[in-house]
Every structure is written in structure tokens, then in C-alpha cells.
């Protein structure tokens, strides 16, 4: 544990990025290795087994379950349409027969003589996987999906809601510490990925949804505003499946906090570029953070990679961001790494580091409470 491992969020102007695009169940892959794909292009598709409708005919027709198979007019594997007579009781001397008309369309999957239950499976549901990243397919997993690679500007957020969205990068703020207010959202931001500075207000979220923006990326958000926007209090940090009509990515955290200047500058430099956003966040085993992926077009694609993904450990001179109060959100440089644990004001003993904040103050912070600003 000598080199404390403090992962940070990645913010990179240019990196070679790969995404795996897989079907949930086996299906057909529509691209070949080497194909160029666009973000919204379907790369694989399949059909999910349809919805199941269980019908208890023994109860519907008031007869013992064992009689159900005999009374069925359709057999397993046959198709039924709404309104069709599915079963008819034997009645008394062939009279007083009762019929059961089916209300759904589908295929009879099973008929049980134990429970009197008939299972009808509806039409298959198509499932499509989009490319998400505009780039080149470099690997195909037969019947499952493919890997797409491209040179991108890559920004990881800390927290997001909503799933995948696509659009042009549009800056709504002039500086990284400017709040994203409702007034900054204009109707021409429809289908754009709106980039703000510091805290995004509830009004801005509502307006962005109103004008039909694809996504909002900003530094911080107030918990109360998020709750109002979602309509419920967020319990655990597993998101991505919300249907709120807008993907939101927060790069720093909750509260009044400015977007890291580097992130903002990067966004500003890519203004107008097509990008993909995913708000999915999962903070448990298998961590997933929300991301903004801005591919470089083919013309711009030069075979030159930035310093890229080397993840340095914590060392003197490394830029860090404080991720817990009392200096939450502050950015600074590591100036000392005392090896022995020290007693914190809270009374706990923990390994710490000395940081000189951008304001010039030198402070001592537990190592667990900083993250490296990675590039």
C-alpha cells in the first residue's frame, strides 16, 4: 500500500477510446471488422422472447386442472389471435358448454394439467444496439456485438442521470465558475449537449427539457433541485434508466461547485463537435461513471496520441482535487506526502498529504479525500 492508489476522473483532450457494444442475448451483428460506423447506427440487433401472459383456464372455466388439456382447442406451439376461442368445456351431455376467448395475441407456450395454467407468449420484442461512438469496428464478438474504436476527447463525470444521448456540444456559460441558470438556455439548443459552468439550477433543467436539449453537462447540482427534477429522492447511486427526457452529467458533485477549469476549457475547444453522452452511474462493484465522448473526425484523426492514459500515483507536484468538506471542490498541488498516519481533527488516524490549494493556502488532507486530476 506504499503508493496510495487514488483514482481520479479522466478528462482527456485526445485519447484512443474503445467501447464494447453487446446484445443482452445472442443475436445478429450487422458490422464487420474495419467498418466505419456513425453514433446512431445500429450495429447489432436481436429479438427478445415476447411478454408472457399466463391464463388460468381451470379457474376461468371452473373445471379441474386435469381437464384443461382435453378442453383446449389449440395445442402448444399454435398461434392465437385476440377473440379466438381458446378452450371449450365438455358441458353436460354436450350442452351448456362454456368457452374462453383469448384477449391477447401470441403463441401457446405450455398447457399445464397440474395447475390448469396456459402460457401464451406474445410477439418477440426487437432489441437494437447503436454504435454510440462514431469510429471504426475493430473487433466482432460473433452473435454478441462488437468493439468500436475512435480517437476522442473524453470527459468522465462523477454522477449522472438518464441514458445515452447524442448531440452537438454547445456552451451555455462563458466561464467554468458561472452558474447555469434558466436564462442561459435558449430554444436553439434543441438536440444539443448543453455545457454549463458551475451549479445547474432546477429552472435550467426544466427549460432544457422544454426546448428539447439532448443533455446537460455542468459542474454541480443541488440535491433539492435534482429531487424536484426527478420527482423522487434518489436512494442508491445506480442510475441510467430514468425516463426524464434529458440526460444530466455532473462533473464535480453536489452543491455550489464550479466545473474544473480544464474540463471546461476542453469542452469549449470542442464546441460544435458531435458527441455522445451517457448518464449511467453505478457506484458499487463494477463502478460506472457518466461520460461525454467527443470523437475527432476522420480528417482530424492524426496518428498521434497524447500522453494519454498513464495513471501516475500520488506524487509531489501532482494536481489533485479535494473531494470532501471542508475544502470540497478545491484544486491544488501535492507538496508533501508524510508516510506516517496523522491524527485528523475528527480524531481518526489516517494517512494524509500536504496540498497547496490554488488559493495559495497550504492544507493537510487525508489521502482518501483527494483525487488525482488525470489526463
Amino acid at each position: 500500500m506504499s503508493g496510495a492508489y487514488t483514482p481520479g476522473l479522466r478528462v482527456t483532450a485526445r485519447t484512443r477510446h474503445q467501447v464494447r457494444r453487446l446484445l443482452p442475448i445472442p443475436g445478429e451483428v450487422l458490422v464487420k471488422v474495419g467498418d466505419r460506423v456513425e453514433a446512431r447506427q445500429v450495429v447489432a440487433h436481436t429479438f427478445m422472447p415476447g411478454d408472457i401472459t399466463p391464463l388460468n383456464l381451470a379457474k376461468q372455466l371452473s373445471m379441474p386442472p386435469a381437464d384443461v388439456p382435453e378442453c383446449m382447442l389449440k395445442k402448444e406451439g399454435e398461434r392465437v389471435e385476440p377473440g379466438e376461442v381458446l378452450a371449450r368445456t365438455k358441458g353436460i351431455f354436450g350442452r351448456f358448454r362454456t368457452e374462453y376467448k383469448v384477449a391477447v395475441a401470441g403463441t401457446i407456450e405450455s398447457i399445464s394439467s397440474v395447475t390448469g395454467q396456459v402460457i401464451i407468449r406474445g410477439a418477440e420484442l426487437p432489441v437494437q444496439v447503436l454504435a454510440y461512438l462514431a469510429g471504426r469496428a475493430i473487433e466482432i464478438a460473433p452473435r454478441e456485438g462488437c468493439v468500436i474504436e475512435s480517437d476522442v476527447s473524453f470527459v468522465q463525470g462523477i454522477f449522472g442521470i438518464g441514458g445515452e444521448a447524442f448531440g452537438q456540444i454547445r456552451l451555455a456559460c462563458e466561464a467554468h465558475d458561472q452558474d447555469l441558470t434558466g436564462a442561459r438556455i435558449t430554444p436553439d439548443m434543441k438536440d444539443c449537449i448543453v455545457v454549463g459552468g458551475a451549479r445547474v439550477s432546477h429552472e435550467a433543467l426544466e427549460r432544457a427539457r422544454g426546448v428539447g436539449a439532448a443533455a446537460i453537462v455542468s459542474g454541480g447540482i443541488d440535491d433539492q433541485d435534482l429531487e424536484r427534477f426527478l420527482g423522487y429522492a434518489l436512494g442508491v447511486a445506480i442510475t441510467g434508466s430514468e425516463r426524464v427526457g434529458l440526460t444530466v452529467v455532473v462533473t464535480e458533485g453536489f452543491g455550489q461547485i464550479a466545473m474544473a477549469e480544464r474540463t471546461f476549457t476542453l469542452m469549449a475547444s470542442r464546441q460544435g463537435a458531435d458527441a455522445a453522452v451517457n448518464g449511467t452511474t453505478q457506484i458499487r462493484a463494477g463502478v460506472m461513471r457518466p461520460e461525454v465522448v467527443i470523437p475527432w473526425s476522420r480528417a482530424e484523426a492524426v496518428d498521434e496520441h497524447g500522453p494519454g492514459t498513464t495513471r501516475g500515483g500520488l506524487e509531489i507536484g501532482a494536481p489533485v482535487r479535494v473531494i470532501r468538506d471542508p475544502y470540497f471542490g478545491a484544486i491544488g498541488t501535492v507538496t508533501g506526502l508524510p508516510p506516517e498516519p496523522q491524527v485528523l481533527p475528527s480524531g481518526s488516524r489516517a494517512r494524509v498529504l500536504q496540498v497547496t490549494l490554488n488559493t495559495g493556502d497550504g492544507v493537510i488532507i487525508p489521502r482518501a479525500n483527494v483525487e488525482l486530476i488525470e489526463g
Binding site: 395447475t115 402460457i119 440535491d223 458533485g253 453536489f254 468538506d325 480524531g347
Partner: protein
């Protein structure tokens, strides 16, 4: 796989626990004739990419132990050396695992409160997280049940239902829903989902008929052969086996690890349950154990030999911290705070902790706040545990005319705080609290023990290791448990009953080897009497009328009390403990209690600043 030779020859025991973030290794060796935990080491768990081999983390952790112990444990091929020689290797190597989110199960029963609950008990007891219970009476229409089954991605499904000779239709009906729903397992598409059937034996052939392709069906004895009795053993064993055969096989590196170990790898919580059951059985005590983590809180209890475990899946200190607030409300957390904080800021802080779970409180304010949250998370988890740990439901009652006006229903909770002897804490916020007093107080506030209760904490979360060890070498496991695993915090003495603040609650007299002390406690007061770790005292409690300290209302109780790092807490705050949510009242109370115990000695200057 079993160690050769008699147990007495075993000199070096190595145990690891592969948690979701950290792999911990401990070394146990005899010191002066008793087994002691001598060295420990830890390393990040390496289940996920880029390493994708759990044994890397294990070897890293063991290497750290090796360096500290000065004993070679890992050979040049990166394998653990077995058996031990004079200065190399170990005699027994065992491991537990909760990596990759642990074992996740879905269970099904006929009646939710009867076989459904028994099935849940079997799964929880085996160390699983129960994602959902499907039952005939869960108030969902069949298509809703199917929808739910399809959404879940369990590792194992347990189907029970019907007593032997009982209902077949209900059981088969559930099987008929599960089979076409084809729940997708978490691991890849080649994984065949294991299903355990532990229901009415008459229905077994019918269930086998329904569940055919795409599943690996195992039929074991009914877990509820009659309503009056549970038989959870076979189902639990089946879960353990399938955990190894199916789930572990698909986790990266576990096939190697399984070859190394001398006892089957157990899910971590299952092992914790094991050691607590062993302790309760050997010492004849009632035990409650709690493990509060970032995402979940596990509560274990053994009362009169009956073991229960619950997992409060969404009560935790980091990933699930926001959910604690959603469930209990801001006011309930704030009532434990001796000072006020801005609500909007607090809400943001809570959410920031959720999205950055590894951070630790730097300021005292943040610590106090985190411990207030912990109290509520623990309290809620214990409430859930009490609701689950009940006598069996659906049992016929024998009555006499004397019962006319006191007809008790079945399914009463078996958790009785008055009978509780030992309360064991583990998990970050409890075991890493800067002062032991804080740990003790969190336990007392959240669990509200009554009568005489020993408080302890798991020093370095060693219980999982010892749980597995108890299966191969019970003696070593017990010796280490008592000497190294538990840190005795002391005892809590609290009578049950309610009264008026400032009125007498009980009189006490304490006799230790060299001193005697006696006095009176007023209702609402809290007092700490120092009593060292190796000290014992004879304590006589004379409760006032209406207060019960274990001997009945108003009756004198005399007990021997064992001390600890904190001492003896005399708690006259009454049970159930009432802490108002009105800020003015609770602030004063909590501040007074904190001062009595010396919870936050550095807080005094802070408090003046705040007020």
C-alpha cells in the same frame, strides 16, 4: 482437500477474505500454547479488469503477511506453500469471498410469510443477498411476477413451497412462471442458471417436468416439511455447493483459489454467521452481530440457539447513505447531533458521500454527522431484523380457558433485548471510529440493549476467517476469537421502562477487587464507570418500581460484569429509548449524554462556536 494429520499438529493457519474492494489475509499460530492471530496483511481485490484474477490479490495480501512474519508462504510460482515445514508454508489455508457483489439469490415460496420466509431464511443464512421473494400471495398478478423475474439477474434461484404432502398446484404454478421467464444470470450467456427445489416432495417430479432446458435443477429435502418445523440445512448446503460449482467457477481466478483451499470457500456473511453460531453454542449466550458496510448492513442474531441473519440491502454508509435519509427522514438523523447544520448543505454532503464513497470525515463535525447517520442505519436494520426473526407462522396453537384474554398470535419476534448477552459490532463506521466510546455509544443508541449486555467490536473484521476455520479447526477459531478478534468495549446496564426525567430510576452498587462504589441514577441520565479490560465487577442493581433490569419490575439483580476499553455504561434513559426530533430538546439531551461518556472531548469549543 482436507488437511492431513490430527488437528493438534496444526501449527500455521492462513486465512484470506476476498472482499469487494480489499483482500485481507491473517496468519494464525500457536503462542504459549494457544492459537493467536499473529500477522495480517491486505491488498486490493483483483476480480475485475484489468487483472481479472482473484488470486493475484490473495498472493499480494499473503506476501505482505510473509514479509511481516518473516516466514515464506508463497513460492516462486506464486502459489501458497503447503504443508508447512519448520519455517515455510502453512498447514491450513482457507478463504471466504464476497467479491463481485456477493451471492445474489431470488427465492420463491407459496405463502410469503410461511415457506417464502423459510426459503428467505435459508438463503440469508447461507450468506446470500435475497433480491426478491416470489409467492402466491405477494399481491402481484402473475404477469407482474414474470416481469420481476425477468428483470432480476440472480446467481441462484431457490424454490420452496408446500409442506410434505401439501399443496402441489401452487408450487408448480410458480415453477411454470419461472421457466418461461428465463431469468438471465449475471455471468455471461453460457452460464446455466442453478435452481434449487426444496419444497413439497410430492411436487418434485412435477417441478422437474416444468423446469427442463436452460436450468440446472437440484432437488433437496423440503425446507419446511411440516409447518411446525424448518429444515434449512439441506437447502443451505445446496446453496453453498452451487455457489462453489456455478457462481465461483464463473468468477475470474476462483477455480485456482478453490484448488488451494482446505475447506470450501464460503460467502463472507455465511462465515460470519457460522462463527457467531459457534460462539453462542459454546458459551451458551445470546448474541447479536452487526456488520455495517457501504452498501448494506447485515444483522446476525442467535437467540436460544436459533440463528437468523438479515441483510438490509439499502442501508449503508456510502453507496446507500442517501437511502438511509430517504427511509428515516432528516429529522431522525439530526436528533442525534449536538449542534445544528444547514439542511441544504447537509443534503449535498450526503449525496457527495454517496458518489465518492471512499472519502473519510476530516473534521469533527463531519464525523459526528456520519455517526448520527450510522445510528439511524443500524436502528432501521435492527428493526428489519426483529421483524424477520420470528417464530414460525401458520402453527396450530394449544389453548386453555386461561388464555381467553391473552390470545397471542404466532410469528412473534424472538429477538429479546433483555435476553441479549453479547453485541458485536463490525464495519467501517463502527470499527474505525476514533474513540471506542463512540462505537459503544452508537451500539447502545441504535440497538437499545436492555438489562446487562456485553459490547464488543471485531478488531479487524476477522470473523469471516474464523467462521470458515470453525469448520476445520473449531478450537483454534474459538481461541483466536476470544483473544484477538474481539475487542471488549465493556458492558451496558440499562433497565427497561419509562419514567419522568429527573426521577430516580435505579440504585447501583459496584464491587471490584479494590474499590466499591454505589449511587443512584436518575431517569434520563447516562454515566460511565471505568472498568478495565481485564477487570470484572460484581454489580447490584435495585431498579425503581416500573423498571426491569432482567429480574422483573422493581426486582434486585446481581451480576458479574466484565470490563473493557470503554468501561461500564449505566444507562437510565429508559427503554424504549425516546429521543425527540424537536431540535432544542434533542440537542440538549445528546450534548449531555455525549459529555457523560466523553464521546467527543474536542467538541466543547466547537459547541460554543455554534451556539
Amino acid at each position: 482437500m482436507t488437511p492431513t494429520g490430527s488437528l493438534a499438529n496444526i501449527r500455521v493457519i492462513l486465512a484470506t477474505d476476498c472482499g469487494s474492494t480489499t483482500t485481507k489475509a491473517i496468519l494464525i499460530q500457536p503462542v504459549d500454547g494457544v492459537y493467536r492471530q499473529t500477522h495480517r496483511g491486505e491488498a486490493p481485490t483483483t476480480v475485475e479488469a484489468p487483472f481479472a484474477d482473484v488470486t493475484l490479490g490473495v498472493i499480494n495480501a499473503v506476501t505482505e503477511v510473509q514479509e511481516l512474519a518473516g516466514r515464506r508462504l508463497v513460492n516462486s510460482e506464486g502459489r501458497i506453500i503447503q504443508p508447512a515445514t519448520a519455517n515455510e508454508g502453512c498447514d491450513i489455508y482457507i478463504s471466504t469471498s464476497s467479491a463481485g457483489g456477493g451471492l445474489q439469490m431470488m427465492v420463491a415460496g407459496v405463502v410469503r410469510e410461511m415457506t417464502g420466509e423459510s426459503a428467505k431464511r435459508a438463503a440469508l443464512g447461507a450468506g446470500a443477498i435475497v433480491m426478491d421473494v416470489i409467492a402466491s400471495n405477494d399481491r402481484r398478478r402473475p404477469h407482474e411476477q414474470i416481469q420481476r423475474i425477468r428483470e432480476l439477474r440472480p446467481d441462484i434461484i431457490l424454490i420452496s413451497g408446500g409442506v410434505d404432502g401439501g399443496t402441489t398446484t401452487h408450487v408448480v404454478q410458480i415453477a411454470e412462471l419461472i421457466a418461461p421467464a428465463k431469468p438471465r444470470p449475471r455471468f455471461g450467456s453460457e452460464y446455466t442458471l442453478p435452481i434449487i427445489y426444496a419444497g413439497n416432495r410430492d411436487a418434485a417430479p412435477l417441478v422437474q417436468n416444468v423446469i427442463k432446458e436452460g436450468f440446472a435443477l437440484t432437488v433437496v429435502d423440503n425446507l419446511r416439511p411440516v409447518l411446525e418445523r424448518e429444515n434449512l440445512g439441506p437447502a443451505r448446503d445446496a446453496i453453498h455447493n452451487l455457489f462453489l460449482e456455478h457462481v465461483m467457477k464463473h468468477a475470474p481466478g476462483y477455480d485456482k483459489l478453490m484448488e488451494w483451499v482446505d475447506a470450501p470457500i464460503m460467502p463472507t456473511p455465511g462465515a460470519v454467521g457460522n462463527i457467531l453460531q459457534t460462539i453462542a453454542g459454546r458459551q451458551g449466550v445470546n448474541v447479536v452481530g452487526v456488520d455495517i458496510g457501504g452498501a448494506t448492513t447485515d444483522v446476525f442474531s442467535v437467540f436460544d440457539g436459533t440463528f437468523n441473519r438479515t441483510v438490509s440491502a439499502n442501508l449503508g454508509m456510502s453507496y446507500s447513505i442517501a437511502n438511509v435519509f430517504a427511509e428515516t427522514g432528516m429529522a431522525n438523523v439530526l436528533r442525534w447531533m449536538p449542534f445544528d447544520m444547514d439542511e441544504r448543505q447537509l443534503r449535498n454532503r450526503v449525496k457527495n458521500k454517496m458518489i465518492r464513497p471512499t472519502t473519510i470525515p476530516q473534521t469533527l463535525e463531519a464525523l459526528v454527522f456520519e455517526q448520527a447517520v450510522a445510528r439511524e442505519a443500524l436502528r432501521l436494520a435492527y428493526v428489519q431484523h426483529k421483524e424477520f426473526a420470528t417464530t414460525l407462522k401458520g402453527v396450530q396453537q394449544q389453548r386453555t380457558v386461561g388464555d381467553t384474554f391473552s390470545q397471542a398470535t404466532s410469528g412473534q419476534t424472538i429477538v429479546d433485548n433483555m435476553k441479549l448477552d453479547l453485541l458485536v459490532a463490525s464495519g467501517g463506521v463502527l470499527s474505525h471510529a476514533p474513540r471506542m466510546h463512540q462505537t459503544a455509544m452508537m451500539l447502545v443508541d441504535a440497538f437499545e440493549p436492555e438489562g446487562f449486555t456485553r459490547l464488543a467490536k471485531d478488531s479487524i473484521f476477522m470473523m469471516p476467517h474464523l467462521g470458515v476455520l470453525a469448520q476445520v479447526h473449531p478450537q483454534a477459531s474459538l481461541e483466536v476469537f476470544d483473544r484477538d478478534c474481539l475487542i471488549h468495549l465493556g458492558a451496558c446496564i440499562a433497565p427497561r421502562g419509562a419514567g419522568k426525567a429527573g426521577r430516580p430510576c435505579f440504585r447501583f452498587s459496584i464491587r471490584t477487587g479494590d474499590r466499591e462504589e454505589s449511587g443512584e441514577m436518575l431517569y434520563g441520565d447516562l454515566r460511565l464507570v471505568p472498568l478495565g479490560e481485564r477487570e470484572t465487577a460484581i454489580v447490584i442493581i435495585d431498579p425503581e418500581r416500573g423498571f426491569d433490569c432482567g429480574g422483573g419490575p422493581g426486582k434486585r439483580v446481581e451480576r458479574e460484569v466484565r470490563g473493557g476499553t470503554v468501561g461500564m455504561i449505566l444507562d437510565a434513559r429508559g427503554r424504549p429509548l425516546v429521543v425527540p426530533t424537536a431540535r432544542a430538546a434533542s440537542r440538549e439531551m445528546v450534548e449531555r449524554w455525549g459529555a457523560a461518556l466523553g464521546l467527543y472531548p474536542e467538541l466543547a469549543p466547537l459547541l460554543t462556536r455554534h451556539s
